[in-house]
């Protein structure tokens, strides 16, 4: 289990050691080393705290390379569900209480994302070839869902701007 609290704490401890601010009056060379180290720590934290990036990274460690940009899945049921969600999102502005409807939709998407995360946890834990295949499928689905969620956020921003 990844303890996000302890991850953040480790991150802060590491930055306290390597951050360029610790070397503000040090030599240029030390500042350069500190900058590189601090960038690396930020990168690591960014990957580890985000479930999707973490999963892609862990799959990579196990020899499964994911394409970051083009997600694909052949799961018909999932794709159908995606289409329905997208239609619902497109219709949000015409609803009588668009913000409430949107909130409902975003909650639904979040639940689906959480389900994928839970499945990924099991798949990566087992790590058999079959499970790793299933894991890369889960990652693809999460990419779909994340994209949908950020589109919903944009709709929300537009609605709020108009309000």
């Amino acid at each position: 289990m990844l303890d996000t609290g302890s991850l953040s704490e480790r991150y802060r401890e590491l930055q306290k050691v390597v951050h360029p601010d610790r070397f503000a009056s040090a030599s240029e060379q030390e500042q350069r080393v500190a900058l590189q180290q601090s960038i690396m720590v930020n990168e690591a934290f960014e990957v580890l705290r985000d479930p999707l990036k973490r999963a892609i990274y862990m799959l990579e460690l196990k020899g499964v390379k994911m394409n970051q940009d083009t997600a694909t899945t052949s799961d018909g049921v999932f794709l159908m569900q995606q289409m329905e969600l997208r239609e619902a999102l497109a219709e949000v502005p015409q609803q009588s209480d668009p913000l409430a409807k949107l909130d409902e939709l975003m909650t639904e998407i979040s639940v689906l994302i959480k389900t994928q995360i839970a499945q990924l946890a099991i798949q990566l834990e087992e790590s058999t070839p079959d499970q790793l295949n299933a894991a890369s499928e889960s990652v693809s689905k999460m990419q779909f869902l994340n994209k949908l969620h950020s589109e919903a956020e944009m709709v929300e921003a537009d609605l709020e701007e108009m309000a």
């Binding site: 610790r22 460690l61 921003a157």
Partner: protein
């Protein structure tokens, strides 16, 4: 050599002198300088007891005048009296045309991409004007504190783009200051409050100045300030509130929009006074002499005032909502909201912001001074005066950075609100057979189209071998340092023959132009530069020697072989000898560099030990 000073827990580092450092709030309207003395951060007054320095510079035949004495005569000598230089800094000539009418200066048509203003003593840029303000503030600090400053922290709006940051840093260079760090204004305010309250949790910093609005959401955890998101509007501030009131008066009185400049200016002044008076009174009287000579007067009640300004406040609240979303934080999680900037004196602003965050806004520290105070605290830490070393600021880049791709679109490489320092790479390829060069256009902004983003730099990567279309691998790496400044590198990676190019975006002033300005300002200075430089290098040398000696005593046996130790010792002895005997600053400097080079491996080894100690016992296998 701070790296060499990493101490084992419970082990004291070598004692060192308290170094003088200052925080400078370089504002659009007013500027301040603050410093930490005997553990207490406070703004420093001038000889007349004034803390606030109006950000106004007047160029006269007999010299440069900065501050109140310049602003008092602004109306009489408008062409030689430059105010609001911050609105011009880092801006190109084209941007300034957009500001247009509002600036009464005589801009020079020149070769330089940077707008230059004609004055009686020659043409000046916003960088030089800002440098004059910085010099006055630094001089005030030196006088008050009794010695040279080892370095300063200068604040900038969180929303400043790369060009504006670079230009601010150049202004400091021109003023002869060593800049420890550029610090975002809201983050500085958080530091001032955070240390005061010692409150862990999530805080919102609402910063409404004269011309800009910034909102930052940050988390404070055991001395670490982690900015989660930042947002705002670089063209929304107290001035817009004055304009709304003035517009109302014009509508009511039937005054024409193209009325005399003087009448409009006095109207704006009245509008500002009315706005301020409404903090105390339920209503104020406004009186005007119309261009046709007749008089007009009316009562401005709080109710009317609210109806005028509420749309503006709503815009800031929308930005707050967006910042919360970017941070992934719910309103209930925000512990408190800190008010910064003179415009947060308006009761209506406090009321509406308090309503939105469902908490009473914090106004304990003077909103005009809080930024300078925070900067002073950070400067003190960066100078190395706080040995417990617990405070750390982790800031973000405020605007997305990307490059132009086919069809005039922007591909984002580093999205906004990414924690800095950061480096990200993206691969691109060629689209024509035999292509041996590729143009890279660096942009900053949130919009999709190149035309809607700010262009930071254009450069070309040349001389990679011809290949079929799509075979070349051009890797473009963006890195943003702790000041929020961008460096870009491009290289072709598919072949052994490496072609690479590295650029630092420039807002128009080249390094040569800066060097030229610096040289002429040094020539004008009366002090004996030679002896001062030597003294500085000697101080540096003894600092390095002291740090290295302490480090060697602590862990040389563990980390160095006998041979390695001999190399380090030889370089150390060399520096010691040269620093004592030579009276040439450059040779001392060269010896310091030589020592640092000789110790490179040792420094990295110590850093790695530091990281290993902090990292023991966790693996990436801990998926949820």
């Amino acid at each position: 050599m701070a790296l060499l000073q990493i101490a084992e827990p419970g082990e004291a580092t070598a004692p060192h002198q308290h170094k003088l450092a200052a925080g400078i709030d370089l504002g659009t309207t007013n500027s301040l300088v603050a410093s930490v003395r005997s553990g207490e951060a406070a703004t420093l007054p001038d000889e007349a007891g004034m803390h606030i320095l109006p950000s106004v510079v007047r160029y006269t035949e007999s010299g440069v005048v900065v501050g109140a004495m310049a602003s008092e005569v602004a109306a009489e000598d408008p062409l030689n009296t430059i105010a609001s230089a911050k609105r011009l800094i880092g801006r190109a000539v084209g941007d300034v045309k957009m500001l247009g009418e509002q600036l009464p200066y005589h801009f020079v048509d020149s070769e330089s991409a940077v707008p230059r203003i004609k004055t009686v003593t020659g043409d000046v840029s916003a960088v030089e004007v800002s440098a004059e303000i910085l010099k006055v503030l630094a001089g005030r600090a030196t006088r008050t504190l009794g010695d040279e400053l080892s370095g300063v922290v200068i604040t900038v709006p969180a929303y400043f783009d790369d060009a504006q940051r670079q230009a601010t840093k150049d202004a400091a260079k021109l003023a002869g200051l060593n800049v420890f760090r550029l610090l975002n204004e809201p983050t500085a305010a958080a530091v001032a409050y955070g240390l005061d309250h010692d409150a862990d949790g999530i805080h919102a910093i609402y910063d409404l100045g004269g011309g800009t609005f910034d909102i930052s959401i940050l988390r404070l955890n055991q001395g670490v300030f982690e900015v989660m998101s930042t947002g705002g509007d670089s063209a929304l501030g107290g001035d817009d509130f004055d304009r709304a009131v003035a517009q109302w008066a014009m509508d009511e009185s039937g005054m024409a929009v193209d009325a005399d400049r003087g009448v409009l200016r006095s109207l704006l002044g009245q509008a500002r006074a009315a706005k301020e008076a409404l903090a105390e009174n339920e209503k104020v009287n406004m009186q005007l002499t119309l261009p046709d000579g007749t008089g007009w007067q009316a009562e401005l009640t709080r109710e009317i005032f609210h109806s005028l300004v509420d749309p503006l406040i709503r815009k800031t609240v929308t930005a707050c909502r967006r910042a919360l979303r970017d941070a992934g934080v719910a309103i209930e999680e925000v512990k408190d909201v800190v008010m910064v900037g003179g415009s947060t004196r308006m009761l209506r602003v406090r009321e509406k912001v308090g309503e939105f965050f469902a908490t009473e806004p914090l106004v304990n520290i003077d909103p005009d001074r809080v930024v300078a105070i925070g900067a002073a605290i950070q400067a003190d830490v960066l100078a190395g005066n706080k040995t417990e070393g617990d405070m750390l600021l982790l800031d973000v880049n405020p605007l997305s950075l990307g490059i132009e791709t086919m069809g005039g679109l922007v591909e984002k490489i580093i999205p906004r609100n990414t924690t800095i320092p950061v480096a990200r790479a993206q691969e691109f390829t060629t689209y024509k057979d035999g292509q041996t060069a590729m143009a890279v256009h660096v942009l900053q902004g949130e919009r999709e189209l190149v035309a809607d983003c700010r262009s930071l730099a254009r450069f070309e990567l040349r001389g990679f071998p011809p290949m079929v279309a799509g075979a070349a691998r051009i890797r473009v790496t963006f890195s943003v340092d702790a000041d929020g400044l961008l460096h870009v590198m491009a290289e072709e990676t598919s072949t052994g023959k490496k072609a690479s190019v590295e650029v630092k975006p420039s807002y128009g002033l080249t390094d040569n132009e800066i060097a030229g300005m610096l040289k002429s300002s040094i020539e004008h200075a009366n002090e004996d530069m030679v002896s001062r430089l030597l003294a500085e290098q000697r101080v540096d040398a003894s600092r390095v020697i002291e740090a290295l000696t302490a480090a060697l005593a602590a862990d040389a046996e563990e980390l160095l072989t006998v041979d390695e130790r001999a190399i380090v010792d030889a370089a150390l002895n060399n520096l010691q000898r040269v620093a004592e005997q030579s009276d040439d600053a450059d040779s001392v400097k060269a010896e310091i560099a030589a020592l640092e080079k000789a110790c490179e491996f040792y420094v990295e080894r110590r850093m790695n030990v530091g990281i290993r100690n902090a990292m023991a016992g966790h693996t990436v296998d801990e998926f949820e």
